[in-house]
Symmetry: C2
Subunit: 327 residues, 2 copies
DNA sequence: ATGAAAGCGCTAACAG
DNA sequence: CTGTTAGCGCTTTCAT
């Protein structure tokens, strides 16, 4: 495989000149440049990023931590991150942790040993302590899920307000018996969305029934289905359900369809995230839309600025209630 | 930042010894090893992968090319690739090409300049010529979509047979008017699945109506919905539809639901891929299941073997017809 | 404008 | 078992 030495030899110049042609072409005379370019072409030379990276001690690689790529919530965010990263000359490594600390560790080590220059964490299940410790020495930002009292910058939305809007929408539609399908409250977003639910219910003086507050361990379709199954078994049924993610809502909708319960006539349903599927269900899902692409691109910019040593500040973005057929 | 030199100095040994406790601990006496380990700990030393990579001229990075991560078809395959890769000490870089040759080129360059050691291509839109050229010099395998007369190894299924099974299933159910929602026939899998459709129809002496063969440019939900819209407009309606991907089928189902057409009573529907969402629709979707995880893990193994210089052979895996509510 | 030379951090052959 | 040393391929000062 051709290296810079061979090119230099073939072109009859020094390796420094070849390097200049590669990185700083205007400081080389047209004549020598042409010579070098021809040698490069003839030898089919490709500069090794390995050598360059060691020399410059940069890898131009960013890590994106997420529990699982199968969650459609992340896809638009990733697109935003990716476009911005590529624009800035970085590549991203999608890191599925599967909520597994060991996996997590592999990726943390990649930044410790310089294989990657920084981390965008979107993983609610990440070990906050480890992440905070790592953030002292390496550039890290958080996207969507963040650490409440942490020192790590983030970009997110106002989850409490968004949930409040969703529930208020149901209340204004005349619903009084409203259930909540939430995820595990060990996650900040789950706690915040619960607070939004609570706030709306209290504001309109509606009772919160503990048996209608469901906390699911995971956020897969089956969990939503399971949750709805639980709700339907109860003596008194709610007339409306707010699920904190579209995936949960779609699972719940499945169970409603199976039982021939009409949506929204018998039970109204609101989701969260506006994933692509949410428009393919029957009926289509009312949901909260987050500016996912923007969240991605902002977090990528934040991280790159941090890498460059610039100061960065956390950002809260706007959400939007998207009213469709399920309410 | 601590490097191997500082550790050696602190421990009072040579850099070689430090390197040994890192890579080959058993050849070092317990006593010196302990000394070195303590120095490593005290200095909070992390070996630089940059230096190691240059020295060993390996990056332990594999590229996975796919048009878009938002297509749920890829998620299980990626899991298979990832698990196998990590097991073998490799990491994977998910590369979205967006069917954009420029993007594609970025990733091809990463392997040319040694940042990555090989490529698993799952991208039907990839430039076959470029890929074949690259495969002469670098380890490359194909997963799912492959090049018919190419020299590049692949793992896939028998698309023609799978499509044949899907259509035969509809025929055995008594259907005679069967439509096909296909993707663009520039893709091999589309041509193969068409052939399977054709074979089944001919075997049972059923006519193939050109107006019931739809070739969609993309394979998003909207394309399936669009296709079904087209079918419903026609004078004579089919009683069954085979869509070559679940995503298309789900879009088609959406349009059927909108028009209150009963599935499977009025129109039966078969998809392809068995994506997670295909079990959440109402009715659930009959589909062809591919061993996606296995495809992923086999292709990763193939690539790693190729990198190691071993000979590898293409593999065709089994598929399965999964009969659910839509037929 | 170009070249010589140092060195990024590591591994591995060789010597002892 | 451990140390010395060369060098992976590149960029970048410092001279010229």
């Amino acid at each position: 495989m051709a290296n810079i030495q061979k090119v230099a030899k073939k072109a009859g110049v020094s390796v420094a000149t070849v390097s200049r042609v590669l990185n700083n072409p205007d400081v080389v005379t047209l004549k020598t440049r042409t010579k070098v370019e021809q040698a490069i072409h003839e030898l089919n030379y490709e500069p090794s990023a390995l050598g360059r990276n060691l020399r410059t001690s940069r890898s131009r690689l960013l890590l994106v931590l997420l529990p699982s790529i199968s969650n459609p919530f992340y896809t638009e965010i990733i697109n935003g991150i990716e476009d911005t990263a590529i624009e800035e000359g970085y590549n991203i490594l999608l890191c599925e942790t599967d909520s597994n600390p060991e996996r997590e560790n592999i990726y943390f080590n990649m930044v410790k040993n310089r294989l990657a220059e920084g981390i965008i964490s979107m993983d609610p299940t990440v070990n906050k302590k480890t992440l905070t410790d790592l953030a002292k020495d390496y550039p890290i930002v958080q996207c969507s899920e963040y650490d409440e009292d942490g020192t790590i910058c983030y970009v997110s939305i106002d989850n409490e307000l968004a949930a409040y809007h969703a529930v208020r929408h149901l209340i204004k539609l005349g619903h009084e018996k409203i259930a909540l399908i939430n995820s595990d409250e060990k996650f900040l977003y789950a706690r915040e969305r619960y607070r939004g639910f609570q706030k709306a219910m209290e504001e309109f003086e509606l009772p919160i029934r503990p048996e209608w507050i469901l906390n699911m361990e995971n956020v897969k379709f089956e969990d939503g289905q399971q949750a709805m199954k639980g709700l339907l078994k109860q003596e008194v049924r709610p007339t409306a359900v707010f699920a904190v993610s579209d995936v949960l809502a779609i699972g719940a909708l499945k169970e409603l369809n199976i039982n021939q319960i009409r949506v929204p006539e018998d039970i109204a349903l609101v989701g969260f995230d506006k994933i692509v599927f949410s428009n393919m269900t029957h009926p289509t899902l009312t949901t909260i839309s987050q500016p996912m692409y923007k969240m991605g691109s902002i977090s990528a910019n934040m991280l790159i600025n941090k890498i460059k040593g610039k100061a960065v500040e956390s950002v809260i973005l706007e959400h939007e209630l998207v009213i469709r057929e399920s309410t």
